[in-house]
């Protein structure tokens, strides 16, 4: 987890412990994150959107273009504060898996971690984007004629079911 807010890291750390995810590391900067990720084996990155030493988008781009696929395909969950919530588009464009508004509750974090774990999203590697496919709703990938929602009023446009409880 990358965050310089000691209260946020304390709370998220206790939430993760409650989930049984005790084996986690908390650091404060993007530089430390790069160093640790490059030398370790991690399954998930949780990062604050506002890093003290670099733009989150730059850290995420580094991850998404990394030659080691264990790093490149790693889910990245971003926590964003009240003042940053409207400014996270750049992080989404850089390839994060999901964005969670602070303060994070156990239920919200559980659902996002489980979603990251249970959802098989293809990885898109394009000139201007590398990251999980953002069209994760099955009806987003409309093709051909009659693409407007109003053309399919009777169709089922519901979202995919939430991950079931284990």
């Amino acid at each position: 987890m990358v965050d310089h807010d000691r209260f946020s890291t304390g709370i998220v750390s206790q939430i993760l412990r409650g989930f049984g995810l005790s084996n986690h590391i908390i650091i404060g900067t993007g530089k430390e994150a790069k160093k640790l990720l490059a030398g370790g084996r991690f399954h998930l990155l949780i990062s604050e959107s506002l890093l003290p030493d670099m733009k989150l988008a730059d850290l995420v781009r580094w991850i998404r273009r990394h030659t080691d696929t264990k790093i490149r395909y790693m889910p990245v969950v971003v926590l964003t504060g009240y003042t940053q919530f409207s400014r996270v588009a750049h992080a989404r464009d850089a390839g994060v898996s999901s964005v969670v508004r602070k303060p994070v509750s156990p239920t919200t974090l559980f659902d996002h971690v489980l979603y990251a774990a249970r959802t098989e999203r293809p990885f898109i590697d394009a000139d201007d984007f590398a990251g999980p496919d953002r069209r994760f709703r099955p009806h987003d990938a409309a093709a051909g004629l009659n693409r407007r929602t109003s053309d399919h009023a009777a169709d089922d446009l519901s979202l995919p079911p939430s991950p079931a409880a284990p």
């Binding site: 412990r17 989930f19 506002l50 264990k70 303060p103 590697d125 000139d127």
Partner: protein
């Protein structure tokens, strides 16, 4: 030449990890997590007055008459920590006042306003609703929030003028 786009089906390593035998149910995990967060309540709530004091220290450093954008930015980061605490531990009044503070400061940064007074008023309001402060009525809180709104409106009008 067209741009390339490679789509790869990737192994979900986190999913593989969580599918291993053992572990706990969702209900137990959430219950344990909630209890763990509660275990921090006393320590973290006690830290709130210190966080407000840190904001005040930024504002009053050097007996200044004006405040820079960099200092306002530092105050926003610090205020975010208070919001983490007020939101997690259910201090709704404090949460509201700190969000008003953040709205004000973001507006000041955007418009290059450097006056100390509006920031100072919001910090005093924070003190009034911080945990452990003397209880004040709903009516008094409403009046205070209306006052903060008028301060914000004053600076918005000044910007638009």
């Amino acid at each position: 030449m067209g741009s390339k786009c490679i789509i790869t089906e990737v192994p979900n390593r986190l999913g593989q990890l969580l599918r291993k035998r053992g572990g706990v149910s969702r209900g137990l995990a959430l219950k344990a997590a909630t209890m763990n967060v509660e275990s921090l309540r006393e320590e973290f709530v006690a830290a709130i007055p210190g966080e407000i004091a840190a904001l005040e220290a930024i504002l009053t450093a050097g007996g200044r008459q004006r405040i820079t954008g960099a200092d306002l930015d530092a105050m926003l980061r610090r205020a975010g920590q208070i919001l983490t605490l007020s939101g997690t531990y259910g201090f709704d009044r404090l949460d509201t006042v700190v969000k008003r503070f953040c709205d004000l400061v973001m507006g000041m940064i955007e418009n290059g306003v450097e006056e100390v007074a509006p920031v100072s008023v919001h910090l005093r309001a924070m003190r009034l609703v911080t945990p452990g402060a003397a209880e004040i009525s709903e009516a008094a809180v409403a009046q205070m929030l209306a006052g903060l709104a008028s301060v914000r409106a004053h600076f918005d009008r000044a910007k638009d003028a």
